[in-house]
Each structure stands twice: as C-alpha cells, then as structure tokens.
C-alpha cells in the first residue's frame, strides 16, 4: 500500500519539474519513435485486438477478488495498464490517444488516489484510525466484518485505477520522450 503514494509523488515531481522539461527539450525524441509506431505485423495486431478485452477483464477480476485470493489493486492495476500499453504498442500513438490520452491518465491517477485517501479519511472522520474500515458499518448499514470487506474492496478499486493510469503514463512518457508531436508544433507556433 505504501508503494503507491510514493510512485505517484515521484512521478508527478518528475513530470512537472522544470529541470525535466529542459532536458527533454534539448534531446528531441528520435530514438524512441519505433515504440509508438503502428506495427506492420498483422498477426500481432489482430491477436492483440482479440486478447485485450480478456486481459482487461482478467485485471478487473484480480482487483475485485483481491480480498479473497492472491492479487489486489496494485497487481490488477498493472495488468490493466499493460493492456493499454499493448494497445499503444500494436496500434500506434494516434489510435491509442483516442482510448487513453495523457490528460485522461493524469485525471485517473488523481481520481484513484482520491478514492483511496477518501475512504481513509472517512474512517478518520467517523472516529477511528486512518483506513480502519470497521467504523464504515455505520454508513453502509452492515456488520463490521462486512464493512471491512467492502472498505478494502473500495481501496483496491482506487489503487487499481491509480496504478493503471500511472503505468500507462510512465510508458507514454518513456516512449514519446516526453514530447508529443502536437506539443512540438504548438511550441514552434508559439515562438
């Protein structure tokens, strides 16, 4: 659980610090362009297309059954992010941006963190410790044991969304070198 906020924080720091932008402006993304191009192998493209829905459903299964069986928010989120990354690799940047853009990924990572910390704060407001789900039984109108189960499910969902978005975002930034084509055009127009 502690890994997630650390990853999110370090990622956001790297994303928005001036130093990062300066270095990325000096080295335009030429070597990494192949990662985001459309692959010319028809087998890979078609098989990826057929497999991606099943990968996504498996990721959601891992998230939703995290409190019963091995798995959980982090693992499921990584699988979910991997499905989007697979789409980006096989179908290219242009098509992937329709499904999951960088703005959306940023919003989703914040939203997942909001769910996670919101449930924790709710427990704090209700008069117990941070992320102590027993007190949630007052709101959910169930016995404390069930409230713990539901509470941890909510936290898993939040963690899953955040990890998915951050994974995709990291890959997006690595593969484009931090510079999108429209960013470059916009910058040139601005000058």
């Amino acid at each position: 659980m502690i890994r997630l906020p650390v990853i999110c924080y370090s990622f956001l720091v790297a994303r928005y610090s001036n130093e990062y932008q300066e270095t990325s402006n000096e080295q335009p993304a030429t070597s990494n362009e192949t990662m985001t191009q459309v692959t010319d192998d028809i087998i890979i493209r078609t098989v990826a297309r057929i497999l991606i829905p099943f990968i996504q459903l498996y990721a959601l299964y891992v998230i939703m059954h995290g409190h019963h069986s091995p798995g959980g928010g982090f693992q499921g989120g990584v699988i979910l992010g991997a499905s989007f990354i697979l789409y980006l690799i096989t179908h290219g940047l242009e098509e992937a941006k329709i499904r999951m853009s960088e703005v959306k990924a940023g919003l989703f990572s914040s939203f997942g963190l909001l769910i996670y910390s919101g449930i924790g704060l709710l427990c704090l407001i209700l008069g117990s410790n941070y992320l102590d789900y027993g007190k949630l039984s007052a709101i959910l109108r169930v016995i404390p044991a069930q409230a713990r189960s539901l509470g941890i499910l909510g936290v898993e969902i939040g963690v899953g969304i955040a990890v998915m978005a951050v994974m995709f975002s990291i890959f997006f930034d690595i593969s484009t070198g931090g510079i999108l084509p429209e960013d470059e055009e916009g910058g040139q127009e601005g000058r």
Binding site: T46, R49, F54, M64
Partner: protein, 238 residues
C-alpha cells in the same frame, strides 16, 4: 490482274480483321471499365450502408451485447463464486470492459453470417484435429528415428484469402500443426518454415487454405472480374 485482285482482297480482309480487332479491343476496354466502375460503385454502396448512422449504431449495439456475453462467461469461469454480490461485480466489470473495447473483439465482421460460421467451424474442427494428430505422429517419427531425416526449408506462397482475420487464422493453424511455423505475413504472402518435405507438401496442397476459406466464408462470393478474366483475353489478342 488476278494477282492484283487477290492482293487487294487480301488487303481488304486484313483491314476488316484489323477493324474487328480494334472494335473487340475497345469493347473489352469498355467492359473492363464497366466492371471496375460497377465494383467501385458496389464498394461505395457497401461503405455507405456500413457508415449510415442507424445501421452503424445497430452493429455497435450488437457487438456490445455479444462482447458483454462472452466477457461475462469468462468472468464466471474465472471467479467461480455464484453469490449475488460477485455476480453483480461481474456484470459491472463486463459492462465496463465491453464499453471500453466493444470495437476491438469484432472489428470487421459482416452481418448475419455468424451462425453459419459457427456451424462450419464445428463441422471442420475434426479435420483440423486429425491433421494435427497425424502431423504429431510424423514429427515424433522424425525425432525418434536414429538418422533424423529432416530437411528444413522455408516456403513462400501467396494466399487467396482476403481478410486479416483469415490470414491470422491460417497463420495460427499452420503454427499449430507440428512441423510448420509461420514466420511472417507480408501483404498476403506467407513465409513458412517446414521441417521436412512431407509437411511442406501437405501445406502446398492448399487443403487447409480451402478449409479456412470455407469456414470464414471467403469462397462464397465471386467477382465479376474472375468471370470475365479480362487479362487473359487481352494477352491472347496481343
């Protein structure tokens, strides 16, 4: 006198022949033009019908429903819990994934032929299984015989299949059959590695291709071009 008359008539005959040839050539040109125009018109009509709003949304809805059903079945297979809570979670997750990627699972499936395809698939499945079984035995024989009589070779052939899905189905069937592996597909040209002459020969007979064309309903439509076979007539004239 007689000779000049003969020459003149011969000249006339040649002229008539030339004219007839010209006319035939023009006719063929116009016929070829017409067929190509008719074909492009039909394609345009198809795309227009495909892109008309109502039908497109119908296709999208149908794809969404089928994707949802398949994914929910997959969820039940994974989960194995049948209480209402987990089934409700499954419905929500399947709806979510179906909403995210309903256009991925069914990319270019034509309308109305799904049942025929399913029937043909189950009809020809035993043939594929038998093929895989016999190829298994053959490869086991190659591996176990002391001399190991292998003769590796790379085949390269142009396929008559047309759509992406049938190319991938063909490639995966080839790879699934022991002894042969599809290395690449480039613009309808298959590059296949075969272990010895027998498996290469089995592949070259094209029976598997025919079966896949039959299952995926590729052989059911005939183009006007094939009937006319314009290119061959052109060749004969020139």
């Amino acid at each position: 006198m007689e000779v000049t008359v003969l020459i003149q008539t011969a000249d006339k005959a040649f002229e008539i022949l030339e004219k007839a040839r010209e006319e035939a050539r023009e006719l063929l040109y116009s016929a070829a033009k017409l067929t190509s125009e008719a074909k492009s018109l039909a394609e345009k009509r198809e795309t227009r019908a495909f892109l008309s709003g109502a039908q497109q949304s119908r296709v999208a809805l149908r794809n969404f429903a089928i994707t949802f059903l398949i994914l929910f079945g997959f969820w039940i297979l994974l989960s194995g819990r049948f209480d209402y809570f987990h089934l409700a979670l499954g419905v929500i997750c399947s709806l979510l994934v179906a909403y995210l990627s309903y256009d991925l699972l069914f990319f270019n499936v034509r309308l109305g032929d799904f049942r025929i395809r399913a029937r043909r698939f189950f009809q020809s499945a035993p043939w594929f299984l038998g093929q895989i079984f016999s190829a298994n035995l053959h490869v086991a024989y190659l591996a176990l015989s002391p001399k190991m009589p292998i003769d590796p070779q790379i085949l390269r052939f142009k396929t008559k299949l047309e759509s992406d899905i049938s190319w991938v189905a063909m490639a995966n069937s080839i790879t699934l059959t022991p002894g042969t592996i599809t290395m690449d597909i480039r613009e309808g040209e298959f590059f296949v590695h075969a272990l010895d002459k027998k498996v290469a020969y089995d592949l070259n007979t094209g029976e598997m291709e025919d079966k896949i064309a039959h299952v995926l309903m590729e052989a059911d439509h005939v183009y006007i071009q094939d009937v006319l076979d314009v290119s061959r007539i052109f060749g004969a004239l020139k």
